[in-house]
Each structure stands twice: as structure tokens, then as C-alpha cells.
Symmetry: C2
Subunit: 454 residues, 2 copies
């Protein structure tokens, strides 16, 4: 429906005659923006433009007045109207970044099956929240998180993980990364500027912690977890229930040694719900709630895209963390927090976790049974991943083989901080694939692994 139009000053407008004054203004703006009406150039007179467009002159006069108010045009008594000199020159935006390299079969670690997200239960929880919540839930919300969710999590974490989680010490974050950044900032404010991470561990969170102002050091992990005797930092982030990525559990003596070390300990309980072989080990936090920060998340139990995580803090950290939270200006929206609280209170969350636990346990068993004979999985029967060590040559061949078989896996080597003798290996996540695709995905993975045989 667009018509072309030319005036004596060689301007060009694409204008839909049905769109009235707004349409004319839009067309003029567009012409100025993309440089067809150049900065400083005289624009058509109102009379000429009205004539050519077939509209009343007053219409064009008003369009020009509007555009002058917006800074597109410059008007002055007795002189012709001109395009303002600050008009933008044409600029094309950078292309959209390419999506992550696609693979057909995802064995990326740390991801739950997105097809198992309880859509119906989440919708039902959202419906109940929207039906029952008072109006103030749509006002500005407390930065530390919904008091309803904090009370609900307090009871849940005490019951399911043995955490001493007073709601007054519980703060909700936009994901674990947000929590680690805020905490690192708060610790720095208290004079704690070095944080130890397990070596190996996930580089992403080490980077986020470093960006908060912490110096990062690595402390080795052996079959009993973090080698506490080598810890010499005032703060340490650990995964005692299920070390990421190696999959070991921290031994009892190490647990007590760690909380006795004097360091502020961050207990990252990222997949505490998923222990398959026996009852879960209770949280370290309950041993020393004044020295241990307990960190939990809905990213593994529900979905990473919910961006919900929480810290249970020692008393001395509550105010510094809340202050740092205000400084960053980011805290999660209220409705999803209330939906999660509803999901937990209604029992739907526990049912979902149990359903997932059975599913992931079965997948792990199938994966272990299907592994080529030369590969032995490392790590306890828990969580969403296992580690396969590979000789250096085989590890180097992984990226090409993974591409060939369209399999997504992660290499172990980038997770080390210190140089180690045998860094090679794969971290295989068996949660990431949709349930109904696990059989062909497993076949593709095993084919790829067989190819890597010595």
C-alpha cells in the first residue's frame, strides 16, 4: 500500500495514504534516519509537501512542529525548515550472534531434561498465585526475595537437606552466578579478597567470582573431596555432596576439617536432590551455620531458565550481602518466586523431583552398562553427569568426533586451574536429552566413544 513521493528537494518518502499525520511523521523520521534527508538540508515547504501528499497544509505544519519538538527538524522564523544537524547517519547493526553450535544429541553436563519441566503444574501454580496474591505483589519487591518463598524454602531445606535455614538468613538470587557475584562483592567489602575453588571445577563461576573482585586459587580434589590441608584462602567454594565434575563425595573427616579451617565455606549443593544409591548426605551447612554459606538452585531440579537460586547465610554476612544486592540492582521477579513456593507447598515439587530421580538413575545405569569396555565411569551414583578419563590422544580427538556424531559433550581439561599430569577426559551429562530421545542419543554417544578407543 506504500506510495512513493518526490518533492523539489529530492526527498523520498514511503508513505501509506491511510496512515494520516502519524504516518507522514513516521515517513519523515525514517527518511532522516537513513540519511535520505541529510543533516542541514532544507526540507520541502509545508505547501509543497501538502500538495504532493494530497493532505491539508495544516497537517504538514503540525508534522513539522512535532518533528522539530523531537529534534529532527530545525525551524527558525523567516528561514526555511531544515533537517537538524544531529540527524543520525545510516548505521547498520552488527549481525545477530550465531546460536550455539547445534548438536543433535546433547550430553552437556549440569542440565536437566527440559522435556520433563512440569508445565501443567507450573501453570497451575501461576494461576493460584495470580488468583490469590494481594495487589502489593505487583509493587516493588524486597531485594532479598519473597518472604513467602523464603519461609517455604526454609522448611524445605531443613526437611530435605538438613539445612538450618532461618528465613531471615535466606536470600533469593537470579541464579547461582548472581549469588556468587553478590557474595564475592560482600566478602571483598569485609576484607576477604581471595576465594579458593576446587580444582577441577566449572570455569564459568570462577570467572564470575573473579569479576566480583576476588582473587581465585585452585585447591586439588582427590577421592575424598577437597584436599583441605592445601586450603590457605579465607574463603572456599566447594561441592561436598557431589563434586563437580569428578563426582566424589567429601569424606567425613574432610567435612569437619573444612568447617574447622576458619575459612568462609560456600557449599554449592547444585544437585543435592539427585543421589541414587542411598539417602543423601545432609548439608555441611548444619555443622557450622556461622561459617558455611549454603547455596541451592532450581536450575537442576526444575529448569536453568527459571534463574532462581538461594543462599543461606551466616549471620555476619546477611547485611553485607543485602547491601551488595542493592548495589547490583538485579533481583529476580516476584511471580516466579511465588509460583515456586506454591509448587513446593503443594507437594508438586517433591513429586517432580522423585520422578526425575528415577529417570536420571535409570539413564545413568543404561549409560554405564553401554560404555565401551575400556572406559570406566568416575563419580558416585548421583546427579546428572559422570566423568570418563581419556588418554591425551583420545581427548584431543573428541571435538572432531563429537561434531561427526552430532553429540554435545564437555571436555574435562578446561576445568583445571593448575597444570596436571592427566587432565584429559569427558564430562558426560545424561540429563540434557529429552526422555523420548535418550535411546538414539545414547547410541550416538556410544558410537562416538567406541571410535575413541585406543
Amino acid at each position: 500500500m506504500a506510495e512513493s513521493w518526490s518533492s523539489s528537494v529530492d526527498a523520498h518518502l514511503d508513505w501509506d495514504p491511510g496512515s494520516g499525520r502519524t504516518g507522514i511523521a513516521a515517513a519523515v523520521r525514517a527518511a532522516i534516519r537513513d540519511g535520505r534527508w541529510r543533516p542541514g538540508a532544507v526540507v520541502p515547504s509545508t505547501r509543497a509537501l501538502a500538495h504532493d501528499l494530497g493532505v491539508a497544509r495544516g497537517t504538514v505544519t503540525r508534522v513539522y512542529a512535532d518533528l522539530a519538538a523531537e529534534g529532527y527538524l530545525q525551524t527558525s522564523q523567516g528561514a526555511p525548515t531544515r533537517v537538524a544537524t544531529a540527524g543520525a547517519s545510516p548505521q547498520s547493526a552488527p549481525p545477530m550472534p550465531a546460536a550455539e553450535p547445534a548438536h543433535r544429541w546433547s550430553f552437556l553436563p549440569g542440565r536437566p531434561d527440559p522435556s520433563m519441566f512440569p508445565r501443567d503444574q507450573w501453570l497451575a501454580a501461576t494461576r493460584r498465585v495470580l488468583a490469590n496474591a494481594p495487589n502489593q505483589v505487583f509493587d516493588y519487591s524486597e531485594a532479598r526475595g519473597s518472604s513467602v518463598l523464603r519461609a517455604t524454602l526454609s522448611a524445605y531445606l531443613g526437611r530435605s537437606r538438613g539445612v538450618l535455614a532461618d528465613p531471615a538468613r535466606l536470600v533469593v538470587f537470579s541464579g547461582y552466578g548472581h549469588a556468587i557475584h553478590v557474595l564475592g562483592r560482600a566478602l571483598r567489602g569485609l576484607g576477604i579478597a581471595e576465594t579458593a575453588f576446587e580444582d577441577p571445577s566449572l570455569g564459568k563461576y570462577r570467572d564470575i567470582c573473579a569479576a566480583s573482585g576476588q582473587r581465585i586459587v585452585g585447591v586439588p580434589v582427590d577421592g575424598a573431596g577437597l584436599v583441605v590441608s592445601e586450603l590457605d584462602s579465607p574463603a572456599a567454594v566447594v561441592t561436598p555432596a557431589h563434586q563437580f565434575p569428578l563426582g566424589v563425595t567429601m569424606a567425613p573427616a574432610r567435612r569437619t576439617a573444612l568447617v574447622d579451617s576458619g575459612a568462609v565455606v560456600v557449599e554449592d549443593d547444585y544437585d543435592g536432590e539427585f543421589r541414587f544409591d542411598r539417602q543423601q548426605v545432609g548439608a555441611l551447612q548444619a555443622l557450622a551455620p556461622e561459617r558455611v554459606v549454603y547455596a541451592g538452585t532450581a536450575s537442576k531440579s526444575l529448569a536453568p531458565s527459571l534463574r532462581l537460586a538461594w543462599l543461606v547465610l551466616p549471620r555476619f554476612l546477611v547485611d553485607p550481602v543485602v547491601a551488595a544486592l542493592h548495589e547490583l540492582g538485579a533481583h529476580p521477579p516476584l511471580l516466579p518466586q511465588l509460583a515456586l513456593a506454591d509448587l513446593i507447598s503443594s507437594g508438586a515439587y517433591d513429586r517432580h523431583v522423585r520422578r526425575c530421580r528415577l529417570e536420571y538413575r535409570a539413564r545413568r545405569d543404561r549409560l554405564v552398562a553401554a560404555l565401551p569396555a575400556h572406559l570406566t565411569p568416575e563419580g558416585i551414583s548421583a546427579g546428572l553427569h559422570l566423568v570418563l578419563r581419556l588418554p591425551s590422544a583420545a581427548a584431543a580427538a573428541v571435538p572432531a568426533a563429537a561434531r561427526r556424531h552430532s553429540v554435545g559433550v564437555e571436555l574435562l581439561s578446561p576445568m583445571w586451574l593448575r597444570p596436571v599430569a592427566e587432565p584429559g577426559g569427558l564430562v558426560v551429562g545424561y540429563g540434557a536429552t529429552a526422555r523420548n530421545a535418550f535411546t538414539p542419543a545414547l547410541a550416538a554417544l556410544v558410537e562416538m566413544l567406541t571410535e575413541l578407543s585406543p
Copy 2:
């Protein structure tokens, strides 16, 4: 149903006989945690405890083994089992912080009416999203925001605000504060370490910007907006469509002078949807998309607790901002982003905004008509607030009067950065009160204002 139990070592357990092994373990943990079983103390023998509890000895043996694995107990061959020395001493948490001082009638500025949140439309949008979204929306999501929302906002901002919003330059944040912090961090990385704010302006965002590493300076505002001739900083945050708090609109000459100043300009278009007297002035950003950052939010149009805001960035800022976003680890969850995109695409968002515009315009008119004769409102007919200047003595009397009438208002004085001759006044928000309470709220406000008469 809880029974008390004592053993020879003067331990005390509250234990429900029906709760089995789990219940015994929980009771022992509780006893250790709150210090009744002291660190280092010998615990009852398995035989004694089993006898007293009336359970099999093997049950207690397993409980002790579990608790040793969790680090609560210390066992060694041939020696009695003891409470581990790292056991927490009793600690009570700090009391929950008091809620904001309650007032019955809220005239706090910058808040939309929470009773007008479109609950049904939001639920319907959530339902459509949950019914139609592919599984990957529950996986890790792009830090810069949903591509669906970015495309939708791109079209919406172009149509409604004249913004040149290529989706590749649009980044979604967990609220405007988050956006300002991330942007401040990115600018600092590019060597820009000083940001000018309008004086007066909201202290909260100046603080967040300062926390990102920016030095903050104030530039005065007059009846034509920011006094650009006094701007001498490499970056400036402005509210050109409706200055907060003074309510003026930036004059055309100032707009062009500002984008010609060479500073990176952040255009905070916080309430651009709500202009009552005439068509909105288009966004400054379209004049110079390579120098102006456009900032928008759903906090005024929908609800602050949604925690959704967005920036449209000059090309040179896209990568630095996305990198800073990753460093902070906080980005908004995906489902609400998709719900907002659905709301906009379906037309429900526009209908909601129009409904709100009519409502707020009517409230503003009623407020202006009801003001005592000695008070003249400042600011154009737009947005959610107006300013009432007061002599110093009257301004000093506001807090007590507000408490007496249970009215929530904000003082103008804390919004100034520089000392000014007449800082006194009130910022009155007419959006915050629920629709059905506006009449009595207005009466209370007017009563309070009358009391402040000279």
C-alpha cells in the same frame, strides 16, 4: 506425639516414635545443632540408645554411621563415639528486618496502580507460552534476553516511541537498576569512568551507577531540561521525555545539543507511555543511535515486581555490555520474557497501557483540581507524579504530617546532588493507590497538604 528421652549421658531428644531411623537422625542432629549434645561429648552407646528408644540396635548403629558420614559424630575403632568438635553452637538469627513503614494511602512516585495489573491477560499469556514453547526454553537461556522478546520489543519501540531498535542491539535486564549497573561497568571498561545525572534525580540509580565504578556528578535542570552547556562528563543519564522528578520536557535545542555534545547519553524513558496532553515526543535515541542508549522498562506500564527492563545500545557498546552481563551472572528468567512478548504481540499490552493512561490522566486532573490554592503543581501533564514546591518550614513539617495522615509521599530534598537555594518540596505519585481507594486517599492527601499551609 513427641516423646522426651534421656540417656545416661544427659542427652535429650525430641523424637516421634513413628518416624523411624530418619526421625532419630533428625532428633540427634537437632540436639547437636542447638548445643544440647556438646562438641566432643561422648554420645549414648548404640545399645543404650536403642534400649531407651525401643528400637533395634542396628537402627541406631546405622543412624550413627550416617551422622558420622555427615560430620556430626566422630567414630574411631575401640573408642566411644563423640559429637564432632565442629558442631555448631546455638545461634539465633537476626530478627527479620521490619517492613517499610506502613501508610494507608500511598502517593509514592514511580509506582503504577498494582490493582490494575492485568492478571487475567498475564495468565493467558503464560498459558500460551507454556502450551507452545519448545523444550529448549527450559534450558540455559541467552544472557542478553529472549530473542522472541527482543524482536517483539524492537517492533514495539519503533512503533510507539520512534526508537531505532535493532534486536541485535537490544539487551533485556532484571530491571532498570541492573541495566544501569551493567552499563556503568561496561563504560568503565572502555575508559569512561564519570557519569552525569540530572540534578535533581533519583538517588537510588545514582548509587547503583556509582557501585558499578562510575564517579557521579550532577548537572542542573531548568525549565528546558538538562542544562547541556554545563555538561562536562563523558556519559550522562537523562529523562528527556519527562524529567524525574521535576516533570519538564527537554527542549528541542537541548536535545540536539545533548546528542552533539559527544557524551554517551542514556535516555531513561521510564514513563514514555504516559503522556496525557498531546502525542508523545519521540525518543531522543533515533536522533543519534550511535551515541544514545535508550532505556525502557515494564515497571511503570505493568509492574515493578516483573523486574524487566531493556536497553537499545549503540553498536560499540553491545559486546562490552554483554560481557559485563556475563560477569554479573544475573539475567532475567525466560518465561516472564516470553509472557511479555506474547502480551505485546496479542495487543493486550497496548490496550492495558491505554486503559492506564486514561486512569492516570483522570487522577492527575482530580489531584490538580483538589490542591489547596497556595500550591501549584510543576511538570507537564504526563506520567505518574507531580512536584509541589514548599517553603523550607513546610517541607520540614512533612514527615510528621504524613505520619499523622498515614500518607506516603517522597520529599524532593534528597534528590538534589548540589546545594540549592530552595530544595523543599514534595514528589506526589498518583499511580500507587488502588483505583477503588483513590477518592479517600486523595482526601487524606489534601487534608495533609492543607495543614502545611503557610
